[in-house]
């Protein structure tokens, strides 16, 4: 794919850049680097790690996510929709008098209402995770960075994006080098 195109451009001194990436060996080093990047004014910096690093997203300036609220709404929709479905069926659309029992026999509607609330919440959780994260997205510029496959194994990466207002090609490179990473990697555009 564009992997080969990117390699050819490497020879040119001013190949277009998606960003600079710095590689670290530990989660703490990445966390420290992420804080410094945020302090240095990089607002669109990204960090990649092979497991969830507590506080990393916050260090990059991420505020709290909307996932819990979305899950709550999903569960609520499941519960309300589920109860409405049963009420509508039993009271409005198909009322049957069974020994004079009330049509809106709500205690008997509780199990299905509950199950549908769980289903609504679970679907909302998965959708909130995927849509919020812009996934599925099979291709992404960072995959073009050399050895980025280690991000799902044992290495930690900090990426300064070229579309960051604070990004300036040489300055960003100097900044990353000052963090003493294992190495700095180019992410071709």
């Amino acid at each position: 794919m564009s992997r080969h195109a990117g390699m050819q451009q490497d020879a040119k001194p001013r190949a277009p850049l998606w960003g600079w990436m710095a590689e670290f060996g530990t989660a703490d080093a990445l966390l420290d680097a992420a804080r410094k990047a945020h302090d240095a004014g990089y607002r669109r910096a990204e960090a990649y790690s092979p497991f969830h690093v507590e506080g990393l997203a916050e260090a990059l300036g991420s505020r709290r996510t909307h996932v819990p609220a979305i899950v709550f709404l999903g569960g609520l929709a499941g519960a309300v929709g589920g109860f409405f479905m049963q009420w509508y069926a039993a009271v409005v659309d198909y009322p049957i008098n069974v020994g004079g029992r009330p049509l809106n026999s709500w205690p008997m509607f509780v199990p299905v209402t509950f199950e549908l609330a769980v289903l609504g919440g679970a679907l909302a959780a998965v959708l909130a995770l995927l849509i919020g994260s812009g996934l599925p997205r099979i291709t992404h510029p960072v995959f073009r960075a050399k050895d980025f496959d280690l991000a799902t194994r044992n290495r930690f990466f900090l990426c300064l994006r070229s579309d960051d207002p604070a990004f300036e090609r040489e300055g960003a490179a100097r900044f990353l080098d000052s963090l003493e990473p294992m190495r700095r990697i180019e992410v071709p555009a």
Partner: protein, 462 residues
Amino acid sequence: MSMNAGSGRGAPPTSADIGVLRAGWGYASITDKIADLVLTRPVRWPWLVAFFGTFLGTLVLLGAIGYLFVRGVGIFGVDIPVAWGFAIANVVWWIGIGHAGTFISAVLLLLRQKWRTSINRFAEAMTLFAVAMAGLFPILHLGRPWFFYWIAPYPDKMNLWPNWRSPLVWDFFAIAIYLTVSFLFWYVGLIPDLATLRDRATTRAKRFAYGVFALGWRGEARHWQRFEIAYLLLAGLATPLVVSVHSVISLDFAIGNTPGYHSTIFPPYFVAGALFSGFAMVLTLTIPLRRAFGLYDFITDVHLDHAGKVMLATGWLLAYGYACEIFVAFYSGDEFEISMTIDRWTGFYAPVYWAMMFCNVLVPQLLWFRRVRRNVVVLFALSLVVNLGMWMERVLIVVSSLHRDFLPSSWGLFIPTFWDWTILLGTLCAFAWLFLVFVRVLPSISISEMRLLVRESAERAS
């Protein structure tokens, strides 16, 4: 290690021995160990033998189902008055087995139990396959299985709705949603590991296959943040769900007024039995898996010990359920309840009853001993005994209650036929076959969570 510039500061951590994880593992080594079981480990003959053996059993199951659909449920031993036989007992048994997987992955996550980490993935796979087996039986036992979808609410031309006051309808929702949510929970947990397999795949085909299912996961910090919250909330949703599912199934019985069904102890008693049999199945699968893949550093004697303790505790809850049923039968003074209880002790199915007591109440008392809980051979044998005992319990509840209800003129017996046994054993084969495929295609242990455990163990040691 590093070629230029700085060192990336600090050496990567190495795990310390914390009981549930042995010392000496780093992020890279633990990733390679688990991923290579799927990616590079050659196929060996014990797996092949098991794979083809269980595949044959699966084909027999499909053949038997085909024959069942052609001939109808008359090929089973069911008749009036025992119209619920093995098929219903098997649903209850299989669903119960599934419950341990959800309990491990959801409840132990909320309780921050570290021994969960290395067993949750394959326990959840066990759940999915067990629930899939369970889901077959309600359809198989229908007289007209091609109309099974009538239980679902859909805009049909008959202008009918399901009867919302029927526990069988609740059952449909409970099982279908349990399967769906278990799958979502399992799949979300798999996404980071699928990305690892994508990045470490040795062939283009594998990279493509894992890459598609990894959905382009790249481990970005904000994605991880959402992932953690979504995963935790899924666990929070799965926890009451798992309790509700077997409770709803127990209501299929408890709402009927048949002596032996009509009991308020049923929901908690069914859930306790579900966890009891489920943990037995977890041990049945863990012990050979650990041996076959050499996972002794990740699945230690501490895991077996803990699973044994959970079995002991849930076994006692179950024993309380048995005792409570007997007590209430006599305390109520209801002659039908009393005669049903005495019939269980002395009637046609008494051997099943006493074998069940032996398997579910007596034998598990061995788990009081630490040496038993840490002895692989004894524990494996014990897990099989409990699986068998719990299956007998389900059969006993379903069959013995129906065979003698109120009117002596409508008493009868249920004797399982060849096809009852074939379909039961067939689902065991299909379950094992699915599990064998799973351990070769997907990582049996959550790699990303194991990396986190490496970090935590190293921090705790320093």
